[in-house]
Amino acid sequence: MICPHVILGLRCDADDAEIRQRYLELVRAHPPSRDPDGFKLVAKAYGMLKDRAARVQSELSGPVQCDSFEDALAELERAANWAWTPPGLREICAAEDK
């Protein structure tokens, strides 16, 4: 998994509490009984970010765990599409101001 924080919809500098909160929200939104694939994805992403040691390990163990550029690109695309959320009201208001 290239970008666990993309799956969880977090900033890279999110702390342990934020990561856990987001994980719990996503688990509620993707329970294993209703969305087993989504649940596995969220659980794997959380496992890579859950604490500092895990984050270091995932960052330093190797930058890309894919065999080809196409695989890496496809994985990023999948992660982004899965994690995509609609824009919020504040965002729309800000776009309107522009």
Partner: protein
Amino acid sequence: MGRPNRKRKGGPQTKEELIRHAGGRLAAGYAKQALDSLRLAQFKGVPTEHLDQLFHRAYLARAEELEARGLREEAESARKNAALHGSAGGDREPTADDILPFLHTQPADSRLATYARHLRSNPPSPDAEVMLADHLVLNRCWEQLDAFPDACQFRDDATVMASASEPLDRGDWETGSRALVPLSPESAFRHWRAFSVAMAAHIQGDVPAVAKALKGLPSDFPLRSATKVLRANAKPGAAEGMAARSDMERLLGVGRRSISKRAQVVRRAVEEAKTAQLGRALREFAKAVDAHSPSVTRLRLIRALYLAVEAGQLDEDAYWNAISRGVSERETECVEFLVYCQSLFKRQGSLDYLTDLAELFYAIKQAFPDDSDRRVARAKILAKLAEVVHSSGDWILTYSAAEDICQILGDFDFESVEKYARSVRSAAIDLLRRSVAEDPANAAAHKQLVVLLESRFPRKNSELISAYEHYADAVPGDPGPWIALAELRLGSNAYRKAEAALEKARGYASHDRRVSELMVAASLLAAKRNLQGGRLALALRDLSNAESVVNPRSEPIVLAWKAIASSAEAKGPSLLAAYERTLDGASPSARAKAACIVWNAIQLIDLPVPIRPKDNYKLLKLFHEAILDTCKTAPADLADVVEPMPIAFNNVAGTKIVSLLLDDLWDSVLRAVPDRDALRIFPAAVEFADLEVLRGELARRLTRTQNKTYQRILLLYSASVKYLLGEEVGASRFRKLINSIPSNEIKPVRAAAEQLSVPVAARFVPTLAIALKQFEFDLLDSQWDLF
């Protein structure tokens, strides 16, 4: 006065819009535009008393503008106009009929308070509440609701809206819409509920529901652009329309289609190797994937892109160009570091280091905000960096690069780097020291550090021993550091410590040849010490230890010392007899080597073994015979014997008999030694052999060999000998000789030059100095202090 009959294109048209526009322009400091709008509103029929307050404020502001421009008369006229419209209206209370226009005349942040005051003695105004509801949602000033009375429908509805705003801001339109259900159809916030329902339906792709939700939305709803896009998307057949989709994504931010579209652009750019497009595509795709932290995604993409380079899909130059374009904003230090390194280290194999370093650096910055927690990750970076510095080969360049990279990484101590004048090796050593201090278990860093310390000249044994000790402690199971420690200890005559280190090494590598050789050496050293101290029994014990691990290379040494020790025993034989007895049956080279060692020991070490002068001479004769036998029967063994020879006979070189003996010896040895071993003894021959004999032999070999490298080495020695004989070498001829050597052959020639002793090299100055400088023989520079 204004020109009310002037046609306006666009801009505010209705009375309310004009009043609102005037208030906005006034608040922004454009008094003249505010006055224009107010006059137009007046022309359209707004009662003047409704506009008095705004006119008053606008004229006063205009007067200030004119005053600032030095137009005093015009400013005075504006003040008079302001007075005509009365005061700022602070004491005027709005009526139920004019509350809405009155509110428009108020500053935005005071409108809620004004309305709350108005409600105390007046009925609610639906139009005013709609305007205030928009103001609340857009500005999120919920705390101002405290000014409203408790039993107030507007306040209750605002509270519902405030609670719904959290999921709505998060993009959870469905939850937000459900939270707004309690609002009545007449609520001031009804339009916001309609918009939320429309957004929720749009997300789910329910076009009819979008159209239904938007039906009651007024044209002046604040989110005009979003509403327009939703309406366009809700028209029949609009779902397939590219315009609606792109408008929506453009307005509402990146959507799923945008991510896939950008991924496709990246793929196409890689296939067609369009670097400009690729760089742009990288940036946009990263932003589409991760709006929070696009730089991280961009780095990962860069790293992933190298997979395309490795697979041959993308040229390496194109890759670097794309990176430069893709990270042109330079928004992170990590990216700067990567691009910077590219300009310095653009050589094969370095990309892995660079992108790894960049990612490591970024990981440190992100994962370890606290400096004390960065140690391990930073240690990995340091080790990698030192590896790059050491392996790059371009020392001068990488010195400044190492320093600059330290600066970029930001938390290094420069003093230790600056302390080493122009020595990249020292910069790499410093980096590695920090690395092993912070991550003691990093075996690679330990190895690199000791390699660099070994290659440094002059070598400092104490720091090398310390480095090896740390290495051995940090990486158990590796015999290497223990063997190295043993060698260092032996070098400083600490044989017990050497033995202890060798025991450790033997525990990990019992069959290692180096271990057995060093154990012999340690035992012999101990034996020598004990012999010198008169502790014969201990010396014999040490010698028997040496014998237990002896190999063919160390056999002559052990035999020699056995002969010496047996001669030292009470009532022992004479040294010569002991030598003859011990080495009876040994090979000629073993006998020669042993004789050499015995002679050396007797001459240089204070041993309780007397030797009679005639035995001394006989020993020399035995050595001479052994050497001649070796020349005839085993010339391949000569180098092993002759190489240490000068040490043995240096002290007696002045003796005429010995000199004659040695001349004869050198003559035979130089003729007999094979070409491959000759290079080992030439340095000694230059020092101690007859130079004419040597010159003759060099010339003979030159005519015999076809090997170009060997020829050049022979020429180098020939030039050395010629110079030592006092003949003119000719700087230009010598330089030509050196210049003719191809770069891939320089190593053995340089090695040969390095073996020339200091006196020889010094006498070459300036010729050799110039020649050596061309090859940057830095070790020679330091050793000979030529420059």
